[in-house]
Assembly symmetry: C2
Homo-oligomer: 672 residues x 2
């Protein structure tokens, strides 16, 4: 045993466990903020206008409630930020809500969070891109007229960029995010200055329109329901707040504290922007309704409703068109970044779920480009389906959106409360206990708050579309459970089977021959090099003429290996070989049979179609025979050179935000 141990250690190649050491490009707070904030920050582009839209149902008078609803959303935001600051300290590994739920509430809760987040990522793409299209459409009517097509094109573009595996650069995030923050702040401040200090008349082009209330005399329960619905929609502003809890490892040290600080910054900015937009929109008399042609009184027939942000920008920068375009562009940009965030997060979450055997195992291998590509493609197709099904209407999509987020929030907070309770059971240090108790109080408030919001969302949005998100979540949950069960049953099968550790007694090698050319000669030479107890060549007689020629050539050559001709009355290849191999097995059951198959290796996919097809199928079939090994002996045709060195280091999406940024260069340090 010790011999093995020494040998093992001595022969380790490269720097072992090198993955640990990647981390030299960790993010300072000023870069981390834009990297993680785009999702949460971009929500202010659609959350306020949804509040206005819902309240329109009760007529203009209901708009007086907008600041209060905004305030309620802001309070939830503050509580959630405070709660997640606890998460960040307690779980700095980057597992996020999935880890918190799994560790504290068990795998089912974790899987629920996983399903919710997967759906959430899909909807993040759909909502963000739709909102981006709406904002660009506010400046360019052509985009508005082809919104669905524009959205699909945008998703395809983002997908192809992510499929190429570009490395996320902090700067690429920083510029648009800070531009967005700066632009919004300038717009809000300049707007308020004009109104309150200069006394200029700043009014939206919708200021003179009336709003036709569907029901202007809502009272009692019905009115409360409407306010609750407006609040639910406003809570869309909270989506993306949890992102930082998945990215703690990417922060500079002290990781947890820096992450917590960034979270606070993010929350502060989001609250300021949200409230600012709502108050300014009220001041300039902006209107936002579901169906402008029907619900707006006094609007011209061809009136195209602008997004609320565009209405603000238009009013504030009335004499300065570049300002309006700037706001529109940075708003669209940050929304696109938010969508891109999902493209980074989705495969990363997939790899975590794969690690726990809830998704196909190969998704776990981070360096595996194809695995990530599959995740990206799945996300893109699902998002396109949602965008197309809902006509890229933000209002329609948002009904589905926040359920998943708040399911995840709520389960995470339950988990955190349990976490502190468990730790308090063993912790004796009074100051640590104090801190834990304070954290538990914060998370309990968080749980109360997010749980309440979840219930409100469920009540007010279930029929409006949330049920679709829930059905999708349940379907994904069941699928992942089935995958998990499959892996578990395979595991059981492997554990239970008795395996004869006796060595196979003899080896019997069979070389498959179709022509006597160089690939065959190489296969024969290699097969002989493995010194089997028994070596023979076989050919299947599919065509008499060819077979006779081969036999004659064989006899004329200096090859001493016997060639057997196998009859194939139905002119097929696979079955006669299988039958022959089975017969060998019957005759000497303790032999291991190795079938050597010479193969051409070519460089183009279309060349692949022209070669090896029969060999491929035979290989696939032979694997079903017990006691048989299948050995491919490749012959590299010259065209294969173009493929040989095509592999490059692949920057998996989400590497930056996971603190895993490798150096450049085509050849990694694997064998230095």
């Amino acid at each position: 045993m010790s011999k093995v141990s020494v040998a093992t250690k001595r022969m380790v190649l490269g720097t072992p466990f090198r993955s640990d050491k990647l981390g030299h490009t960790l993010l300072p707070k000023r870069i981390a903020l834009p990297v993680f904030a785009s999702d949460a920050m971009s929500s202010v582009a659609y959350a306020p206008q949804e509040i206005f839209l819902v309240l329109s149902v009760a007529g203009l008078s209901a708009y007086t409630y907008t600041p209060w609803i905004g305030l309620a959303v802001a309070v939830v935001m503050v509580v959630v930020v405070a709660s997640y600051r606890q998460n960040v300290h307690a779980y700095p590994s980057g597992g996020g809500d999935y880890e918190v739920a799994t560790v504290n509430l068990g795998p089912r809760a974790g899987l629920t969070v996983g399903s919710a987040l997967l759906v959430d990522y899909i909807l993040t793409v759909a909502v963000s891109i739709s909102s981006a299209a709406e904002n660009i459409g506010s400046a360019i009517p052509f985009v508005e007229q082809h919104r669905v097509l524009f959205c699909i094109a945008a998703i395809v573009l983002i997908t192809s960029i992510n499929l190429r595996g570009i490395r996320e650069s902090g700067t690429a995030f920083a510029i648009p995010t800070y531009a967005f923050i700066a632009g919004m702040v300038v717009m809000l401040v300049w707007g308020f200055i004009q109104i309150f200090i200069l006394g200029t008349d700043v009014s939206s082009d919708t200021a003179d329109f009336g709003v036709k209330a569907e029901n202007s005399h809502l009272v009692g329960i019905a009115f409360v329901f409407l306010i609750a619905r407006a609040f639910s929609s406003g809570c869309a502003a909270l989506t993306g707040v949890e992102a930082i809890s998945n990215g703690v490892p990417a922060f500079e040290k002290p990781k947890s504290r820096n992450a917590a600080t960034t979270l606070l910054l993010l929350g502060g900015i989001a609250v300021v922007l949200l409230m600012g937009i709502i108050v300014l929109a009220r001041e300039i008399g902006a209107k936002y309704v579901e169906n402008p042609a029907k619900d707006l009184i006094g609007a011209p027939a061809d009136y195209q409703q602008k997004s609320l942000v565009a209405q603000l920008a238009h009013a504030v920068f009335r004499d300065f068109t570049p300002g309006f375009y700037f706001i529109t562009i940075v708003t669209a940009l940050i929304l696109v970044l938010a969508a891109n965030t999902a493209f980074n997060g989705f495969p990363v979450l997939g790899s975590v779920l794969a690690q726990d055997r809830y998704l196909p195992r190969q998704l776990h291998t981070r360096g595996d480009r194809l695995a990530f590509s599959n995740g990206i493609l799945f996300l893109a197709i699902a998002a396109i389906v949602f965008v197309a099904a809902f006509g890229a209407q933000v209002t329609a999509l948002i009904q589905l959106y926040i359920v998943g987020v708040f399911v995840s929030f709520t389960l995470s907070q339950i988990g955190m409360v349990r976490h502190w309770t468990r730790h308090l059971r063993t912790e004796t240090d009074p100051s640590a206990r104090n801190r834990m108790q304070r954290s538990r109080v914060i998370n309990s408030i968080g749980l109360l708050m997010t749980g309440t919001v979840l219930i409100i969302v469920l009540i007010t949005k279930f029929l409006a579309g949330a049920w679709i998100a829930i059905v999708t979540m349940v379907a994904i949950y069941i699928l992942m459970q089935l995958i998990h069960r499959h892996y578990a049953s395979v595991q059981t099968e492997l554990d239970n089977t008795d395996f004869e550790t006796i060595l196979p007694s003899r080896t019997h090698s069979v070389v498959l021959v179709s022509k006597l050319h160089l690939p065959t000669k190489r296969a024969l030479a290699y097969a002989r090099a493995t010194r089997p107890d028994n070596l023979e060549a076989i050919t299947v007689n599919v065509d008499d003429r060819d077979t006779r020629r081969l036999v004659a050539e064989w006899e004329g050559s200096d090859i001493s290996i016997p060639l057997k001709v196998i009859a194939s009355p139905y002119r097929e290849i696979t079955r006669p070989v299988i039958d022959y191999v089975r017969r060998l097995r019957r005759e000497s059951p303790r032999d291991v049979i190795t079938v050597f198959i010479p193969e051409y290796v070519v460089g183009h996919w279309w060349e692949q179609i022209l070669h090896n097809q029969s060999a491929l199928r035979l290989k696939g079939r032979l694997l079903f025979e017990p006691g048989v090994m299948v050995t491919s002996v490749p012959w590299q045709l010259s065209s294969s050179d173009r493929r040989k060195n095509r592999d490059r280091v692949y920057n998996a999406p989400g590497d930056t935000r996971r603190g895993m940024v490798p150096g450049d260069g085509p050849s990694g340090p694997a064998d230095t």
Copy 2:
């Protein structure tokens, strides 16, 4: 050398060259006729009406030429039949026009015939199914209103039947074909009896309509052109005559004579039906125009034009509706059989072309279900494209149809003339010379006739659609040339490369390990059984925790093979293994490296997705490394059982008509 020879012969398995002996279910003439005649016979369902349609352009008076045009087509038919009787005697192997052209005119001519026939098969399906739909539509208006959909559904149905690989049964052909012949003969005879003997008034429902001539005063060249066009369309009756020349091996002995007799029978019946239909149609005043709503004078607004055959049946069986339905049904049936013929012929031709390396090689293996499936699918998709593009209009499709047939006819006849000339050069026996000279005269007349028709078809139909068929033929020709060139260049590469026949000095085996479970243990045991000079296990460190656990398990086990841990800083699997293998190669270039990969074998495709994905990709990549063999060591999970015995004898489409009908039963006599 003699030792090898003896060993070779002694060890031949099964009855060698057994394929030769299949032939116990050869076709007697009475079955061969329906099997091969459906294509040619079914053309009488559309050829006569096309003659009427073209002549309508010059008004009703032009209909007087229909019997003469029919007669001209009949003459061509007689000549072609006489010519092909020579082909059948000279080339009894079933290679058909492709063989005749290749042998006598070289590969380019052969390839031209091959391209023409491939296009022809596609159009046979499109035209036959469209015509079947028109005939059924004459009885059931619903089908007429959804003709394209109906055609696509029919093609999909025929495709799926052929994909399942049902065996063609002679009876299945005999019943509808004889029913069609009988039905047509009864209809014609009863029609003529009513008209000429009983003096009953038998008239079509179109008898009272006038025909609006586009130009009733065509003279000179223009009129000749019109007559020539009508003749060209009528020549569609000749499609399928060549089928028997591909099927000589399926006939009972004496094969050639029986085939020639059957050909004569086929020609006779076709001529009788063609002329009968034309004369009867004239007698009952049937009309057939391109655009009934515009071209028919006096027709009610909602008049739906019936096919010519349906018009005859309707008039003859006016008081006996079942007669009308019977004719409609058997006409549709024989047209469907004609389409099915193409589904049999297309993959067979593909296999012949593949044998000569013009198509992917695997298409050659007749027993290979997948290869045939690909051919069938390609044919179906192409036919659907043509049907959809031309709205299932027989008149439109027929413009494309006969070019290919007559290209093939003409080249074949040139080839036959050359064939006889060549043989006459060496033949000395006077009676044989006499026969040959007579044959040469017949084929020369055939050449003259088919060549003339080809030129007429090209002139009258080129712009009407024949150019599409020609472009398709050229494209297929070029594609096949490129494939041929690729195979040739691979051949050259294999011939030119110097190959060290020295045996590799040592073998170095590497077992890839991810976990220490049964599949791994089996792979280790098997690898050790091959007694390599060097044996080691490697694992790629994708996940630290997993790797540490594996190393601990390994040290605790009784395995004496050293385990190396390979670093993978980017958490990928493939590249570190490739790098490692390359390093081994650099260190000892004369070693052969065998990489053993343990694999799960599962029964469901979805299980396959959950396993082996990384292994599959690694295998694919390792094949590009010279000096490396890749050995799969399968571990059959219990679910793999369901796949193990799924292979059954596959009856390839076209077997019956190629004289290759194997016995029943799941287990072939391969190893008896």
